[in-house]
């Protein structure tokens, strides 16, 4: 069954299945367009609920070395902003899981927020995360995306004070993205499960939105632990790593096997 393009449906379905949603992250065009499409297919088949599709950028301030390097590979392959959107459109057309863009403010600015909103919607994307646009700068950027019906999940970090977290949750759409630990993407540090659980509990008192957790989640054990408390589990660098160095079917096979192991680790909830 092909999932619908909306994020609400993603979490609804997972909830119906009494588990958290699995949200793998890949970079568009890493290492080439065909591989990405094959990888997205494989992730979909392995049970990914939502795919974060990184639009390659040379100065990814929120990303660690793994994702930064993947972005460089994609840029080296000549992937442009429009290509990333096209990849999403093709994947969706091939029946992929819903797709959420992950990009940065400067490329969006250059592409144009209105144009991005329109093209992303036309591609069948579910929304976009722009990690270097904080709450304060949202107004200059979010309205066209919102108008196009795209979700804009915002990030809440361990350093975010409670009152601010509530405001961020209120401004988010689709879901709230809780960062599991200090730092950037990448698997160097363990997620802080205890803190995550407490923070989720607190956030549930202020928002109805699903809460997904990401950053530093790289093993089935992490997925099991976080999946027990969150509505969604984002796995980024570890997914990118799982097929780094491979292309096409080989890459798809590797990432599919890895994603399946994550999916299998998702605990069933009461």
């Amino acid at each position: 069954m092909i999932a619908s393009g909306g994020i609400g449906d993603v979490f609804a379905r997972a909830r119906a299945e009494r588990r958290a949603a699995l949200i793998p992250y890949v970079v568009a065009g890493d290492p080439d367009r065909e591989t990405t499409l094959a990888v997205i297919d494989a992730l979909t088949q392995a049970g990914a609920d939502l795919i974060e599709l990184g639009i390659p950028y040379g100065d990814p301030l929120a990303d660690g070395p793994t994702i930064a390097a993947a972005g460089q590979r994609a840029l080296g392959a000549g992937i442009k902003f429009a290509d990333s959107i096209e990849i999403a459109a093709q994947a969706r057309a091939r029946g992929a899981a819903p797709i959420l863009f992950f990009t940065y403010v400067n490329p969006v600015d250059h592409y144009g927020a209105e144009r991005f909103a329109r093209d992303a919607r036309d591609a069948g994307a579910a929304g976009a995360i722009v990690p270097d646009v904080p709450l304060e700068e949202l107004d200059a950027f979010a309205p066209p995306l919102r108008a196009a019906g795209l979700a804009i999940p915002l990030l809440i970090a361990p350093t975010t004070p409670h009152a601010r977290a509530a405001r961020i949750a209120a401004a988010s759409s689709g879901f709230v993205y809780l960062v599991s630990r200090l730092g950037v993407t990448g698997a160097r540090r363990e997620p802080d499960v205890g803190w995550v659980a407490a923070e989720i509990a607190r956030l549930r008192t202020t928002t109805q939105l699903p809460i997904a957790v990401g950053f530093g989640i790289s093993t089935p054990a992490h997925v099991a632990a976080i999946g027990a408390v969150a509505d969604g589990v984002v796995v980024g660098s570890a997914v990118v790593d799982s097929y780094a160095g491979s292309r096409g079917d080989e890459a798809a096979a590797k990432v599919g096997a890895y994603a399946a192991s994550l999916r299998a680790a998702l605990p069933s909830r009461g």
């Binding site: 301030l61 400067n106 600015d109 250059h110 904080p134 700068e137 915002l154 361990p158 730092g183």
Partner: protein, 402 residues
């Protein structure tokens, strides 16, 4: 000219349409606390008196002004150097690191991190960190670590740890990304000492405030010595801190022309340039909106300048504001002209300027001839050139590696 400039950025960190805060959420609280601490410190006379004491005893301020008499032949405006090269560690960078280290201590931070390109800001941070007994970790592009082995060793001598950055182009831009990432990873005990008037608010503002001592001193010194204001103030612009520092002393004197000199590299019309204000477009880099050297997709371009300290694709947002408002003008000097000014200043004045500063001197030489004897030109000599001797020697094929 009499365009009124704002004294500080607005509450959201904007100078007109430039500036702002574009960083991951994990850093927002740190920036808010930094802004708060800055506000409190700046209102505290004890803070300034400690800062000024360190500038006097440790940095060696005030730096002198010096009439470079032999720089231009024929009728010309006097060229006065503001001598930041005589500061401890040899450049203006230390004014800023002293200030930020004091802020860091006030905020209870025990660790300083910094990005560095050629190593000057890294050395200045390692220096004050050693003095204050704080841990210092410096992020430096792997390419620069190779090129600037001497400064790398100097930082180690000073007790700092230098981390080579392997991402992206492996130069200053990437080192800055990495410093932001590292800050995000250890924001509780770590203070990010940024090296220029760039980055997210409040950095462009607070770095300017720590560098404005240059302009305040220079204005008083020039008035005392010459009984009048200068016709022109000239400074090189990499990130723009030495320029903002000296401009700040004169920005409200409408009759004083302010000139920022960027590095044209092989030429402003070439790919190989570092002149963000002359050859860039508006974009967002390292947390704020400003002019950026980038392609149509917002991908930041590789830059080139003979001078490592100007080899940066961005520029401080306040400069973008001063450019658009017309209060300051920005020109570009290419590698060859900067190198010629470097040699000329060494031979005629016995001062080996930093290659960065040599860009400002090259422009001032032309301006001096144009202005004629009625003019009075102040050039911010932002640093000494000892650090560049090896680069220049290598360009000329001289072997001075021993």
């Amino acid at each position: 000219m009499s365009i009124q400039t704002e004294q500080t950025p607005d509450a959201r960190g904007y100078f007109g349409r430039f500036g702002g805060v574009f960083v991951p959420e994990v850093l927002m609280e740190a920036l808010a606390r930094l802004e708060q601490a800055t506000r409190e410190a700046f209102a505290d006379p004890a803070f300034w008196s400690e800062y000024e004491g360190l500038l006097r005893d440790y940095v060696g301020r005030p730096s002198p002004i010096y009439h470079a008499e032999r720089l231009v032949d024929g009728p010309h405006a006097p060229i006065i150097f503001k001598r930041e090269d005589t500061n401890h560690t040899g450049a203006h960078k230390i004014n800023n690191t002293v200030g930020q280290a004091l802020l860091a201590r006030r905020m209870g931070k025990t660790r300083l991190i910094a990005e560095t390109g050629a190593g000057q800001h890294g050395v200045a941070t390692a220096t004050i960190g050693a003095k204050m007994g704080m841990q210092v970790d410096v992020y430096m592009g792997a390419v620069d670590v190779e090129r600037q082995a001497l400064n790398v060793y100097l930082m180690k001598l000073l007790g700092a740890t230098v981390y080579p950055v392997e991402s992206g182009t492996r130069t200053l831009k990437d080192a800055t990304n990495e410093a932001f990432r590292e800050w995000a990873a250890r924001v509780e005990d770590t203070f990010y000492v940024i090296g220029s008037v760039v980055g997210a608010h409040p950095y462009p503002y607070l770095v300017r405030e720590f560098q404005k001592v240059i302009g305040v001193e220079a204005r008083a010194q020039i008035l005392e010595r010459y009984g009048r204001l200068p016709s022109d103030v000239v400074a090189c612009v990499g990130g723009g801190s030495n320029a903002m520092g000296i401009f700040r002393g004169f920005v409200d004197d409408g009759a004083v022309n302010l000139w920022g000199v960027e590095a044209a590299g092989h030429g402003v019309r070439e790919i190989d340039t570092a002149a963000s204000l002359n050859a860039g477009s508006v974009g967002i880099l390292h947390g704020s909106r400003s002019y950026v050297l980038q392609d149509g997709e917002g991908q930041v371009r590789d830059t080139h300048s003979i001078s490592a300290g100007l080899d940066y694709p961005g520029v401080g947002p306040e400069h973008s504001f001063l450019k658009d408002s017309g209060r300051a003008r920005y020109v570009a000097i290419d590698d060859d002209d900067a190198l010629a000014a470097f040699h000329h200043t060494a031979r005629r004045e016995g001062i080996v300027p930093a290659l960065e500063s040599a860009h400002a001197i090259a422009f001032a030489q032309r301006l001096a001839a144009e202005r004629g004897p009625d003019g009075l030109i102040v050039v911010n000599l932002s640093g000494r050139g000892d650090k560049d001797v090896r680069t220049v020697a290598a360009l000329e094929g001289t072997e001075v590696l021993k």
